[in-house]
């Protein structure tokens, strides 16, 4: 009886020993050499796996950072400058400070500004709707309002405003990962520099229709009147295909264009409220 038990124990021990040796040699022979810095860099990254950097997740981005000779062009939008500085320090590489960016919805076609010309009751998805027709308003460039950008945002930064029917970006939560930019079938969302004190100006319209057509479809449309181009002292605004665009690298936030815009298509964010002219004069006096 006891010998059976002993033989069993001996057999299993011997088997375990042999297998352990095989495993050890296999592990030695087929060992994958991995740069330990990859693990370190990955630990520094936020771990959102949003794909905003252009890599398939944080691990893949860490590998790219370690392999690359220069960190130029590699940027984690979620972590931003602080994280990239840490990554650069760990790898002993240099990285230039990048301006923080934020997603901007370039459409002001709210339910008030843009009358509906048809009723859409199909699948609640912008890309389905865009595949079926030009949209439920007379503007074929504007926001479809089905919220594909809301669904795709991994940070919960975009919500639909039920009053306007347009998406709203929470600039505190937005990391500029760019998922919404890719999801929008109308190419309305753009990543723009956040600007000093989060102040920025942008043209909130992408309609390439001629002025009259665009104005008829939406009261807040850019009509390509060139007033903003003429008034800009820094040549930051240009009009192409009947729609104005402000180059955020040239814009010095003087706000003259917003003042000149006849339709209010140029939106100012986080500026102090513009006081009426007479009040300003009184203050100076």
């Amino acid at each position: 009886m006891s010998s059976t038990i002993l033989i069993t124990i001996a057999c299993l021990s011997a088997l375990g020993l042999i297998l352990a040796m095989v495993l050890y040699f296999v592990a030695q022979k087929f060992k994958v050499e991995e740069d330990p810095r990859i693990d370190d860099v990955e630990a520094l990254l936020p771990g959102a796996n949003c794909g905003g950097c252009g890599s398939a997740g944080c691990r893949a981005f860490a590998e790219r950072c370690v392999k690359a000779a220069e960190l130029d062009g590699l940027f984690c939008p979620v972590g931003g400058n602080p994280v990239m500085q840490q990554v650069a320090a760990r790898l002993g590489k240099e990285i230039a400070e990048a301006a923080p960016r934020v997603a901007v919805v370039r459409c002001s076609g709210s339910l008030d500004n843009r009358p509906r010309t048809s009723i859409y009751d199909g699948a609640a998805s912008c890309r389905v709707m865009a595949g079926l027709y030009s949209g439920d308003t007379a503007c074929r460039y504007g926001c479809l309002g089905q919220g594909d950008c809301v669904a795709v945002c991994p940070f919960g930064a975009i919500t639909m405003n039920p009053r306007t029917g347009l998406p709203v970006v929470d600039e505190q939560l937005c990391t500029a990962c760019g998922n919404c930019v890719a999801a929008c079938p109308k190419n309305i969302i753009e990543l723009r520099n956040k600007g000093p004190k989060s102040r920025r100006l942008y043209v909130s319209c992408v309609s390439q229709d001629k002025g009259g057509v665009a104005r008829k479809a939406c009261s807040a449309a850019c009509i390509g009147c060139m007033k903003c181009v003429k008034v800009c002292p820094f040549e930051a605004v240009k009009v192409e295909n009947n729609v104005a665009y402000i180059d955020f690298n040239k814009c010095r936030l003087c706000r003259k264009c917003a003042e000149a815009c006849p339709t209010g298509a140029i939106v100012e964010v986080n500026f102090p409220i513009r006081l009426p002219k007479e009040v300003e004069v009184e203050k100076q006096a």
Binding site: I119, A123, S134
Partner: protein, 444 residues
């Protein structure tokens, strides 16, 4: 046992309320809008300029690519302008706008009623006439007919199949031409048989049109190479792959074309257009259109010039009814909703359907319980519930593995889904993305 296709299919009520209305000529309007994108390929290029005088049947748009087709004026008059105009979906398409003056036809067009039975044209001449007359497939996809009749090298058609199924509810335009012009259609079929060099033609008609079958059979007895087959009523019998299965019992391989199964399928309307092009020298500038709906005052079939706006078409049936909420160009299963009522008809417009709120109201969506009804009805043997989920999360590799590219967009899954899920809407998006990936892939 009547023939039909083996896999899936649904049985919507056919609502053929305009079947008894004989084809009438639609009055020529004062202004027409002729789109340059009336076919599958790239838009045609206008060959006339503003202020030019044109006659009925004159070439006004020339093809710009392989899949492109000629476009002819449907009226006589002066070109008012050439500009982008919104189509029925609201997308801007280059359009020639013509102010109508009189009704002066090109003298080369034979307008007599006599039926030209003798086929004198050679194979090459037939194909050239079809291309010059801008004939496109009138079954819905607007595929240029001369390309379909020229099989790629190394492939040979055994059969020509003529689609007279008209499986879509409400539509009666094909029914009326089979009833009123059976001999012309059969001659058109024989012309295409000559162009394809095939010896046998099957003409499939669904059993709910016994008068059309009888009128075709009366003339087909003279042509033993054409066999008129009565088919069991089932949607989507008019789909190319379904008709091939129903008529000759062959399956088109996945991602294949009908020619891979040795068949070429043409619509009966296309056969009539081919007859008129080759025997009567008449380009494709008018078509038979059903204007119908349960709420319209009348339900009628018209011979309509290309470029007639939809709102003008409605005037002919007593105007837009008060309870109308939705207009559909084509049938209710595969037709397109008309978002822009001022848009104009094109070559392949087969019907204008007016629906009431009761007919179009969607029931609330619930969850998929994997009942498998969509799998049962899919005529391509796909799993729509799965494709729907994969398309929603953009899983391209799995969509491809599950053959999303074989979807024919017939809408059976969506029609049958007890949870009212927009299955086809999502699948169509996924299919488009997968096909784009497949096309960009280098060929082996």
């Amino acid at each position: 046992m009547k023939k039909t296709f083996a896999l899936g299919g649904v049985h919507p009520h056919d609502h053929k309320i305009s079947a008894g209305a004989a084809i009438e000529d639609f009055p020529v309007l004062s202004r027409v809008y002729i789109s340059m994108a009336q076919h599958l390929g790239s838009p045609s290029e206008p060959v006339v300029a503003k202020g030019d005088r044109v006659k009925v049947g004159q070439l006004i748009g020339k093809p710009t690519g392989f899949m492109s087709a000629c476009i002819h004026s449907s009226v006589s008059g002066t070109v008012a302008s050439i500009e982008p105009v919104a189509d029925l979906a609201g997308n801007k398409v280059n359009t020639i706008i013509i102010d109508v003056e009189g009704d002066e036809w090109e003298p080369s067009i034979d307008r007599s009623q006599t039926i030209v039975r003798e086929i004198t044209a050679t194979k090459e001449e037939i194909l050239k006439r079809i291309a010059d007359c801008g004939i496109v497939g009138l079954g819905g996809a607007s595929f240029p007919t001369h390309i379909k009749l020229t099989p790629p090298p190394g492939k040979k058609a055994d059969y020509l199949l003529i689609n007279g199924a008209e499986c879509e509810p409400y539509l009666t335009s094909d029914h009326r031409i089979m009833l009123e012009m059976p001999e012309q259609i059969l001659i058109g079929a024989r012309l295409m048989m000559k162009a394809l060099d095939v010896k046998k033609c099957f003409f499939g008609v669904e059993e709910n049109k016994p008068d059309a079958i009888a009128s075709l059979r009366r003339f087909s007895s003279e042509y033993p190479e054409i066999e008129v087959v009565s088919l069991k009523k089932k949607y989507p019998q008019g789909g190319e792959k379904q008709l091939i299965d129903a008529l000759i019992g062959r399956r088109v391989p996945a991602m294949g074309l009908p020619i891979d199964a040795g068949a070429v399928v043409q619509n009966c309307g296309t056969a009539l257009a081919v007859y008129e092009a080759v025997q009567k020298n008449k380009p494709l500038f008018e078509g038979i259109v059903t204007i119908t709906g349960d709420c319209t005052e009348q339900q009628r079939n018209f011979r309509l010039r290309v470029g007639t706006p939809f709102n003008k078409m409605l005037d002919a049936v007593g105007g837009l009814p008060e309870q109308a909420v939705k207009l559909i160009s084509g049938g209710p299963m595969m037709g397109k909703a008309v978002a822009n009522i001022e848009a104009a008809s094109v070559k392949s417009t087969s019907a204008l359907l007016v629906l009431t709120e009761e007919q179009t109201k969607r029931k609330p969506q619930t969850q998929c319980i994997r009942c498998g009804k969509c799998v049962q009805v899919c005529p391509m043997g796909l799993e729509p519930y799965l494709l729907n989920k994969l398309a929603k999360v953009s899983r391209m590799d799995e969509l491809e593995a599950n053959r999303v590219q074989d979807c024919i967009e017939c809408g059976c899954c969506l029609y049958t889904c007890p949870a009212q899920l927009p299955l086809l809407d999502n699948i169509r998006v996924g299919k488009g993305q997968v096909i784009r990936i497949l096309r960009s892939r280098p060929k082996k």
